[in-house]
């Protein structure tokens, strides 16, 4: 009988040990170790302490992954990878035509550059760029958490019609003041959704509808999808600075972007139609700040931040001349065909550019561009 008790006691002790060793332990951000089932990587952005947010349109979700790449680096080394597409293709054992670079993001803490790639069969890959070297980042058995992007309210969620035909895409993503901000588009309604999701993820997420003034239209408009955005501070107040498909630049006060709220933006510039903004960052040289914006059919624009601050008006009159611009002034940098850009440090950015000789290069700008 004593033996039986001993076996039972051992069993209980073993089980409790098993329970403590296998039970996922959440870290300070509520993340547990596992393998996130990421189907696509549309957008990347970094949060605190090397936490990488991965926007997955196919899952209509955002994943937060702890990259453990959190060593603080004060002075970033410039990255320079010539023919990056060829290097990625070689690393993945395929042809250049079979890969697409979806996004790049700089870890603000370690200053390492991360790059999301999609292979033609749809497999998403995350790479880290160190100097001119590319290394795959494993997404297996990593601390992660996830949040599903809430769809437009459906009358009832349970239907008997199988899979939904609704398709979501994530156009841009950012992190500011403890919140992941996501803009996206669905195939069913033409309209921009802007979501603000507190991190660590909880069950809440705010979805605001944003209204902009189309100077050309001479009307207010809620339907346009945001292509790219950043957050900024003007005279002590935080703003979302968003750019739309026909390139108006619009400011929304961040504290007003709350659930179900309808927020009117202030259009501060019309940067010319026939073009789509691709990415934007804010850089600093001395005491002066600049907004830099990559475009589909224009060179990189540079806007003096002071003119954004000083421009207290809102564009409310139509721009009549074709492809003309209005509002705050900007200059075109002699840098064209920039597909992606992100901020490396206060005064430099990392650019992915299709050079005039056809090569796709990742390189680091210098203060000279400011």
């Amino acid at each position: 009988m004593k033996k039986l008790y001993a076996v039972l006691a051992l069993g209980v002790a073993g089980l409790s040990l098993l329970a403590t060793t296998t039970r996922p332990v959440a870290n300070q951000y509520g993340m547990v170790v596992g393998t996130p089932a990421i189907k696509s990587i549309n957008a990347l952005t970094f949060g605190p302490d090397g936490i990488l947010f991965i926007g997955d349109g196919k899952n209509a979700a955002v994943f937060a992954v702890d990259t453990k790449d959190a060593n603080s680096v004060e002075k970033a080394s410039p990255v320079e990878v010539k023919n990056i597409d060829e290097k990625i293709a070689a690393l993945l054992g395929t042809d250049v035509k079979n890969i697409t670079i979806q996004d790049i993001a700089v870890n603000p803490k370690s200053k390492n550059v991360y790059c999301a790639v999609q292979s033609s069969d749809g497999t998403p890959v995350l790479l880290k760029v160190e100097g001119d070297k590319l290394t795959p980042v494993s997404l297996k058995e990593v601390p992660f958490s996830t949040v599903t992007l809430a769809n437009a309210p459906a009358e009832d969620a349970k239907g008997s019609r199988g899979e939904s035909l609704r398709i979501a895409s994530i156009s841009d993503m950012g992190f500011s003041d403890g919140k992941v901000m996501v803009t996206g588009l669905s195939n069913q309604e033409f309209g921009s959704t802007f979501r603000s999701i507190p991190f660590p993820f909880t069950n809440t997420q705010d979805q605001a509808s944003l209204e902009i003034y189309h100077a050309a239209h001479a009307k207010y408009e809620t339907m346009s999808p945001i292509r790219t955005f950043t957050t900024t501070e003007i005279k002590g107040k935080k703003y979302l600075l968003a750019s739309y498909t026909c390139t108006p630049l619009v400011l929304f006060p961040l504290d007003e972007l709350k659930a179900g709220k309808h927020v009117k933006g202030r259009t501060v510039a019309e940067m010319g139609s026939g073009n789509s903004p691709l990415d934007m960052v804010i850089l600093k040289k001395g005491n002066e700040s600049f907004l830099l914006m990559a475009n589909s059919n224009r060179p990189v624009f540079k806007v003096k931040y002071k003119s954004l601050e000083d421009y207290q008006g809102a564009l409310t009159t139509p721009v009549t001349e074709s492809f003309a611009t209005a509002g705050v002034d900007f200059v075109s940098l002699p840098v064209t065909n920039v597909i992606q850009l992100d901020k490396l440090d206060d005064s430099r950015m990392v650019l992915l550019q299709r050079r005039s000789n056809g090569s796709l290069d990742l390189w680091t700008s210098s203060e000279r561009y400011l």
Partner: protein, 373 residues
């Protein structure tokens, strides 16, 4: 004690059965087939070459802990080692690349600086091609302010390429440019078989800059041909092969919201499983039609069944899972349902926002009551 031992045996038997089942299921999903006399074996998963088994004879002389450092798989003629994972398996060393091997390419196995072997991933058979299952809207007369086109393919396609392979011809001669909105990422469904294309809304909305400069994408009374190139590759690199097109004629601008009060419906007799057919005066959006309708009984219970579009999206057909019961029913339609020009039940697509009328009439859904008797 005997009891514990018996239970333990039973548990082992159950676990063994479970493991066998898991192994059997896994072996159904992933199969490894020998390529040729090189002895390298390609593992296939869902028709994709996801691994390479390297026979023991190649790796027998290497210390297990230095295998992944010394051994590499490369593309023929390329020095870079392919990113992936080596692991021991019953058949030898298994290499799983980060992305599946590309069909038609040759891969080499290297040990340090010595090439050991090579293998070609067989290209797909010429007849093994995807096809275009459908183009929506199905009708051949469409409003000049048509907003969306859906392309349904038979299997996953390559993303980010649509504007290269979809063209619109006007009157059979002029190729139109800038008709579709250049969206990156494109709007593909999760299995990459359905693509949504937007005709540039900035050109459709009157007075917007793109509309003023470039005009509306389509004009009334014109014949258009939507051409989907046979060169479009699928996720595995096989092309459609055949160029397909859909010819349509445009009629007047549609700036009016669909009105459920103008829809007609049949009344299936009680006790039968006859389908309920709702007929609209115009075709409605294919994707939204299949998602926005619900039928409830008087006590609010949902009537289960299936919905399908019919008659070029001018009808929707509901087949109830059970025979109809006599009684009062409510057809509930989500107001986000749109017609072909993007006008939904609440507001037209191109509304005069300065009037600001729409906000007061906003409803999440609209209802239509009917009786089965």
């Amino acid at each position: 004690m005997n009891g514990i031992s018996k239970n333990y045996k039973l548990l082992r038997i159950r676990l063994c059965t479970l493991y066998s089942l898991v192994f059997f299921t896994a072996s159904l999903l992933v199969t490894c087939r020998s390529g040729d006399k090189t002895g390298l074996v390609i593992c296939w998963n869902d028709n994709r070459a996801t691994g390479l088994v390297i026979p023991e004879r190649y790796v027998v002389s290497i210390a297990p802990n230095s295998l992944s450092r010394l051994l590499s798989v490369r593309r023929q003629g390329v020095e870079t080692a392919i990113a992936g994972q080596f692991q021991r398996s019953d058949e030898g060393m298994l290499f799983e690349p980060l992305v599946p091997f590309t069909r038609g390419l040759v891969y080499e196995l290297w040990l340090r600086n010595k090439r050991l072997s090579e293998i070609e991933i067989p290209a797909l058979a010429d007849s093994d091609r995807p096809f275009l299952k459908g183009i929506y809207p199905s009708a051949d007369t469409l409003p000049e302010n048509l907003l969306k086109v859906y392309l349904q393919f038979s299997r996953p396609m390559r993303e980010g390429q649509s504007l290269r392979y979809v063209t619109l011809l006007k009157n059979g001669t002029d190729t139109l440019s800038g008709t579709f909105l250049d969206l990156q990422p494109e709007l593909w469904d999760a299995d990459r078989t359905m693509l949504t294309l937007w005709l540039d809304p900035g050109r459709i909305k009157r007075n917007l800059h793109p509309n003023q400069q470039l005009g509306a994408p389509l004009q009334a009374g014109t014949t258009y041909r939507l051409v989907v190139s046979g060169e479009w590759p699928d996720a595995q690199g096989a092309t459609l092969g055949k160029t397909l097109s859909k010819t349509f004629v445009t009629d007047a601008r549609d700036g009016v919201s669909p009105d459920p009060m103008q829809w007609s419906m049949n009344h299936p007799p009680p006790g039968t499983s006859q389908p309920l057919v709702i007929t609209f005066p115009e075709p409605l959006d294919y994707s939204l039609l299949l998602e926005t309708f619900r039928i409830r009984r008087e006590d609010s219970t949902l009537v289960s069944g299936t919905w399908r579009t019919s008659f070029d999206e001018e009808k929707i057909v509901f087949s109830s899972a059970k025979p109809w019961l006599a009684g009062n029913y409510t057809l509930r339609i989500e107001s986000r349902l749109e017609d072909l020009a993007g006008n939904n039940l609440n507001r037209p697509f191109d509304r005069d926002i300065t009037q600001n009328k729409s906000d007061t009439t906003f409803q999440v859904y609209k209802e239509k009551r009917f009786q089965i008797r």
